[in-house]
């Protein structure tokens, strides 16, 4: 059974260790802007919401890519960007309805969460277990996926 990230906003204290760990893993720098996981801060409610790619089945980024640069890692199920193939056209960034694939002006390519090949660094970095890597069934992703389905351009005739 493939695993998914489980993001629990109730446990998140907004320390942003995950952003630093992610950017370090991806970019070699401690720079939240280069992180594929983002913490959204809602001040009045004192609430922090971690957010990243759901590795959705529909993978709009993957279908939209004109040169087959986004492929599925069969071991982890992650949709991964092959930087050598990516031409940097950014069509995937406007196609992804979650806003979780981003253009990196330094490299001229796009980046997204790739689950670090099965050892997600954000999980290791999180001190409160707000981010865990668990069997896919246990996550709340099904709701996200339902929401994603609303964005599908096709609907099956019932």
């Amino acid at each position: 059974m493939q695993k998914s990230l489980y993001l629990d906003a109730d446990k998140c204290t907004g320390c942003k260790q995950c952003e630093l760990a992610c950017s370090f893993e991806r970019d070699g720098s401690f720079n939240p802007i280069k992180s594929s996981i983002q913490i959204f801060t809602f001040h009045e409610a004192g609430r922090f919401v971690p957010y990243t790619c759901t590795q959705c089945d529909d993978a709009w980024c993957m279908t939209a890519c004109p040169v087959d640069a986004i492929t599925i890692n069969t071991a982890t199920g992650a949709k991964e960007v092959n930087e050598a193939t990516c031409v940097g056209c950014k069509v995937c960034t406007i196609a992804c309805p979650f806003g979780t694939i981003n253009y990196n002006t330094d490299t001229g390519k796009v980046t997204k969460c790739d689950l670090c090949g099965g050892d997600p660094q954000c999980v290791t970095a999180c001190p409160t277990d707000a981010i865990t890597y668990v069997e896919a069934d246990a996550t709340g992703f099904s709701r996200m996926k339902e929401w994603a389905a609303k964005t599908d351009n096709a609907q099956s005739a019932a």
Binding site: L7, D8, A9, Q38, F40, T41, F42, H43, E44, A45, R47, V49, P50, Y51, D57, D58, W60, M62, T63, A64, P66, V67, D68, T71, N73, N82, T85, V87, G88, C89, K90, V91, T93, I94, A95, C96, P97, F98, G99, T100, I101, N102, Y103, T105, T139, F141, M144, K145, E146, A148, A149, K150, T151, D152, N153, A154, Q155, S156, A157, A158
Partner: protein, 488 residues
């Protein structure tokens, strides 16, 4: 707070990603203010789970193999661009026993026009533009790739005529995915060999040949395609003049403010941009071309590129009984007026999500969507209903990225929220219908940009976030996480 202060605060921060920086105003809980509605049978898009990624596409088979006794149906697809290829792969996935023939008239293995700018920049080789990178991809999927041109469709006996030898090919289901072609404005001298379109790999080779460092180049048209290739031409070292009929750059994708800022940006980078202008004639002066324009001195140029728009490839349908307007008329199953004949991509006049009208969008994401949806209906009649495609474009012009979504011009009675920072070339304008986002234009903003598509296409009611976005439209990602509740 004044708009100016907001701009200062927002744009004063980390330049490359204002949208992801922490929110400027205190805001409230994030519990979904719009509960996620029950979604009826969500279709899991039949996508190709290709996991391999080695270079080179299959050599096309010379003739389709129609001798299989045990196939379920023969699906014939005309046009091997993204719409045709996505459809072929999806049919294979849905029906392992189908016979699939993919006919394309270009000499190269199926490729993506979108990759052409990167080929011109010499960022990629020709192979880098191929739609699929695996050795024998089409063979492995048992898709017959045929290089030929279909000269006519004969619905009565369910055949198509192949141009090379006038032979007939039978089909059970037919998909027309023949794309579009560049239009030629009536300019004397446009047929000069030093004038080229920029639509095919063949055109690109001609441009690579003709545009060298120091070449003086005139580009006719600053539309979407024109602006995309502009950067490649400058990177090739061309001294460039762009002549555009409209009053700003990309007038059919960017609003006045945005298109004008983009023009200034290009001028700052040394490109001459003539708007509200026209090329009157191109004269051959031996070594060079003399290009006369409606407002300004004639230009002595080495090469001219024509990028003035495209039209659907429908000429060969004459006499077939298939109804054509701007493009091929299709219903929400992407089926034409003739049963068992479907159309997809640049050639199809399909449903627009935002307007509810049928239009030719001529963009890549719509081509792949059409390819998927039509193929489902070819295999399982009536199984997929098109919800309409959201018009979306992203464009990098000399490093400045612009985006347009949906009803970027707004709707009657709707509101809009705008932030302008002309000095730093940053701009965002969200268009609302009630408390829903229906369109957007942005300049210099890339972080989390796809969330705008999500908000438009899910028709999410923004609730309290509407006012917040009116005050600061850059908070679209916070709004998105706020109303959807994130993952939890």
């Amino acid at each position: 707070m004044s708009i100016l202060n907001i701009i200062k605060r927002l744009f004063g921060q980390e330049k490359s990603s204002p949208a992801q920086s922490s929110t400027p105003q205190p805001i409230e809980p994030t519990q979904a203010s719009t509960p996620v509605e029950e979604v009826k049978d969500s279709i899991q898009t039949a996508m190709n789970e290709v996991t391999d990624n080695i270079i080179e596409a299959a050599e096309p088979n010379p003739t389709p193999n129609t001798n299989h006794e045990d196939y379920s149906m023969h699906h014939v697809i005309i046009g091997s661009g993204p719409a045709g290829v996505v459809a072929a792969e999806s049919i294979r996935k849905l029906d392992p026993k189908a016979m699939i023939t993919l006919i394309g008239d270009e000499p190269e293995p199926p490729y993506s026009r979108m990759a052409i700018p990167y080929f011109l920049e010499e960022n990629i080789t020709e192979e880098g533009s191929h739609l699929r990178k695996t050795d024998n991809h089409y063979d492995n999927k048992n898709i017959n790739v045929v290089r030929d041109r279909v000269s006519s469709i004969n619905p009565d006996d369910k055949t198509v005529t192949l141009e090379s030898n006038d032979s007939l090919l039978n089909w059970d289901k037919l998909l027309i995915a023949t794309g579009s072609h560049p239009i030629s404005p009536p300019i004397p001298g446009l047929d000069n060999p030093k004038v080229s379109n920029c639509w095919t790999l063949e055109d690109s080779r001609k441009i690579v040949e003709g545009v060298k460092p120091g070449s003086v180049v005139v580009q006719i048209g600053a539309g979407f395609i024109g602006c995309i290739i502009l950067e490649s031409l400058v990177k090739r070292g061309a001294a460039l003049t762009v002549v555009e009929m409209g009053d700003r750059m990309v007038p059919r994708m960017l609003d006045q403010q945005c298109g004008t800022m983009l023009k200034t940006w290009c001028e700052n980078k040394g490109v001459t941009v003539l708007t509200s202008s026209q090329v009157n004639s191109i004269e051959d002066k031996g070594k060079r071309l003399l290009v006369s324009v409606s407002n300004g001195e004639p230009i002595e140029a080495d090469f001219v590129i024509s990028a003035t728009g495209v039209r659907s490839n429908t000429a060969f349908l004459e006499g077939s009984g298939i109804k054509v307007d701007e493009g091929i008329l299709v219903n929400r199953h992407l089926e034409t007026n003739v049963p068992d004949i479907f159309a997809a991509g640049d050639v199809a006049q399909g449903l627009d999500f935002s307007t509810g009208e049928y239009t030719v969008q001529a963009i890549q994401p719509t081509a792949s969507d059409h390819g998927l949806i039509s193929s489902k209906n070819m295999v399982n009649p009536g199984s997929a209903i098109h919800q309409g495609a959201v018009l979306m474009n992203v464009l990098a012009t000399l490093g400045l990225i612009s985006v347009s979504y949906g009803l970027w011009e707004g709707v009657e009675g709707g509101e809009s929220a705008e932030l302008v920072d002309t000095d730093n070339f940053r701009y965002i304008r969200l268009q609302f219908d009630g408390d829903k986002i229906v369109g957007a234009n942005t300049l210099g903003i890339t972080q989390n940009i796809g969330a705008i598509r999500g908000l438009i296409q899910s028709k999410t009611a923004l609730g309290v976030w509407k006012e917040r976005l009116m005050e600061n439209p850059l908070n679209f990602m916070d709004a998105y996480v706020g109303v959807t509740g994130g993952h939890t």
